[in-house]
Amino acid sequence: MNKILLPALLVVVHLSAETYVIRNATIMTVAKGTLKGSIVVKDGKISEVGEKVMEPAGAKIIDAAGQYVIPGIIDCHSHIAADGGINEGSVSVSSMVDIKDVINPEDIAIYRALAGGVTTANILHGSANPIGGQTLPLKMRWGKDAQGMIFEGATPGIKFALGENPKRAGNPAGGRGAPATVQARYPATRMGVEDTIREAFNEAKVYKAEWDAYDARAAKGEHGIPPRKDLKLEPLKEVLEGKRYVHAHCYRADEILMLLRVADEFGFKIRTLQHVLEGYKVAKEIAAHGAGASTFSDWWSYKVEAFDAIPYNAAIMQKKGVIVSLNSDDAELMRHLNSEAGKAMKYGGLSETEALAMVTLNPAKQLGIDNRVGSIEAGKDADLVIYDKFPLSDYAKVQKVLIDGTIYFDRDNEVSGRAAKQAEKQKLIDKEKQNQQRPQQAPTRRQGQ
């Protein structure tokens, strides 16, 4: 037993990206319609898409005859892959916390999302506070470490939340899950939520002015003691500077308008409204502000502020000029966002491309990463999903998923590898049982004497 057994089972070894040609596929590019042809993947990027392509020598051929290829699915609202809780719910403004600090690349939900065609997910802080924690998009590079999951160069975000969730903690009865003895946390009303956000940005403006003055002095060569760095206000300063996106959890039309007005007043933008189930009532105002909307396909009525939800929400907002995406907010729903997109065809009569865009190109635009992902175009990251059937159908199964030109999920390997994994597991279970039985025998024997 001197050897160390390499635990290779969970750690998938990814070789540097190969050159692939995906042949004979129905390619739903999202950006430029659907065509039958091939995709060339080289150095992690899509190098060519077309009915006829130049196949590089030595390229590995993936024959996708009868199959479909779509851009990797992007989930604009997810809470997977984070350790130790996604809510820093103790305070009304928890902007000092950062999902980046707690990325858990070993969360099995990543692999499951991958198996559902998701290649990028926006990992958000929870909705317990008017201003929540810092967020960022991850690529579902299963097997990589925490740093390897991060979507390089993507603009980081921050979570805001309006309505029932943030005000619930202000309920003296403690709200969901909290003991009644716990001191109630401000705010307890929607008015209070607005006030909390305003107060935080008033503070942030003062903080920013302090730092701007210091930076100006430093630029002139005057060196003094810099102001204290405040991790709560830093990200809000970045919001004011346009360096950080606001992703705001919201439901009701009135509070959506409230937030847009507050943002206009303080001179920053709401990048996306999340959930936004009453968005159809104020779609024009949302479009005018330039906010994106990331909603559910047909999830509704799970709380009072979700009663007015309609499944036409996505289509209506889209027709009024809002960039709309469909998200999961859930590790299970995340695994079939393709069929969630399909629902937008039924409710609202969107085209295949428009519907598919709601889980690919549109969330990419909302996250500011559409120069890299979201459609099948030469020069973009080779984040691709191969389905056996029409991908917006419930019956479609993911066959292969590529991220940066590397195969991260392969249905055939997954299925054929299960027996070996099960055997490995059984071996360990049996070994443990044997070891456990041994010490139990000793006292028995002694008693016998």
Partner: protein, 473 residues
Amino acid sequence: MKQSIAKVLTALLVCRAIALAQSHPAVAISNAKIVTVSGPVIAKGTVVVRNGLIEAVGENVPVPADAMLVEGEGLTVYPGLIDGLSTWGQPYTAPAASTTVTAGRGGRGATTTTTTTTPAAAVPAAVSTVAPARGPEDRPATTSWLKIADEVTFTDRRIESARSAGFTTAVTFPTRGIFAGQGAIIDLLSDAKPGEMVLVPAAGQYISLSRGSGGGGGMGGGFPSALMGVISYIRQIYLDAAHYQLVKDAYARDPRGVERPVYDRALEGVLESKRILLPANRLVEIDRMLRFAAELKQPAILYGGRETFRPEAAALLKKFNTPVLLSMRWPEKPRDADPEDVESLRTLETRDKAAGAPMALQSAGVKYALYSDGLDQPRDLQRAVKKAIDAGLSREDAIRALTLSPAEIFGVADRLGSIEKGKIGNLVVTRGDLFDDHTKVEMILVDGRKYVPAPDAAPTGGRGATTDPGVNR
């Protein structure tokens, strides 16, 4: 039977003689096998301890005329074992160190500790704040200024059982809260003034990622409640400490017309700590904490180390050149586990391979030491080491991981951890090889003071070792 009665009687007599032995100016153990750890093993030699220091060691060292002679024929002398992360010698019971690590997935089994032997008492309860903290400015779960050196006492009953297992030294830490305070390196003496026990009064700041008692996750329990909240709090404290230092220095240079910096004991405690201890068990935690320590620019030691048997973990530790304190509480299947429960392959694998961690770290060239983590019964401690040896660790390396390695990690290898002239006179004398079944600790020297294990203390060595020779046929 007669033999055993005789043994007990002798042992009792020896106990009575302890006080006498302590008054001897010098102890010499001759004709013994000496495992120096820092150098080659001396097959037959003499070691002389005087005034609490090793005066001489070697094959041909003469026995001083005034020394109490211990005939070492058939005996082996080792450096006293060091518990690299401990709560021994404290007047209250702290939870075992690494059980405060956020468990996460694939958690280990038993979390109940066996450290409830001493009465709960005096050390500050400052951690349990009255009002929930509203943010980092309230310094939640922080007693960074606490120095456990000021609290140590020999009345902790675990000291005696630890000595019976061969431990002479412990790096003992306060463990409550996020910034728990500074640990101390202490000698496991009895009947000593607290100050005599302390070898190094400030051994580093113990940091945990949970609030400990009085906190509680979820809403309303006060800041911070989530792991990311704790991490951001620690980050803010170090930013504040750096700023505090700047402001204080400026004020010290010229206080006239300058606003007086507000004294902050939390930041003082952090600034005084020359290293930090961070918890990390899973691979992802090891990765996270190594990067975090680098970001904070603090010399760090990781503790826990459950998944360091994974080559990726060992490689990371090597890359960041960071030592790790490895818990000897190898994960076990929870006793009350649901038999129908299907555990993940990773959990099973971790339980199967965890005791291979010392071997993995050894091969990767990572500096590591073993620590008790709440184990305090000699038999449990010996068994835990044996398990690592069974998983491939050599006996020599096992001994080093409990002597010279912890001394090096805490920067005291110039006075502890091996049998060398001039080092502190901490020795364990055994009949048989340390960690062998049926090996018996005959005598322990702590600071040159002689102690003999209580007769009822279980012998060293593994399972089934018994003092009744009849059972062994």
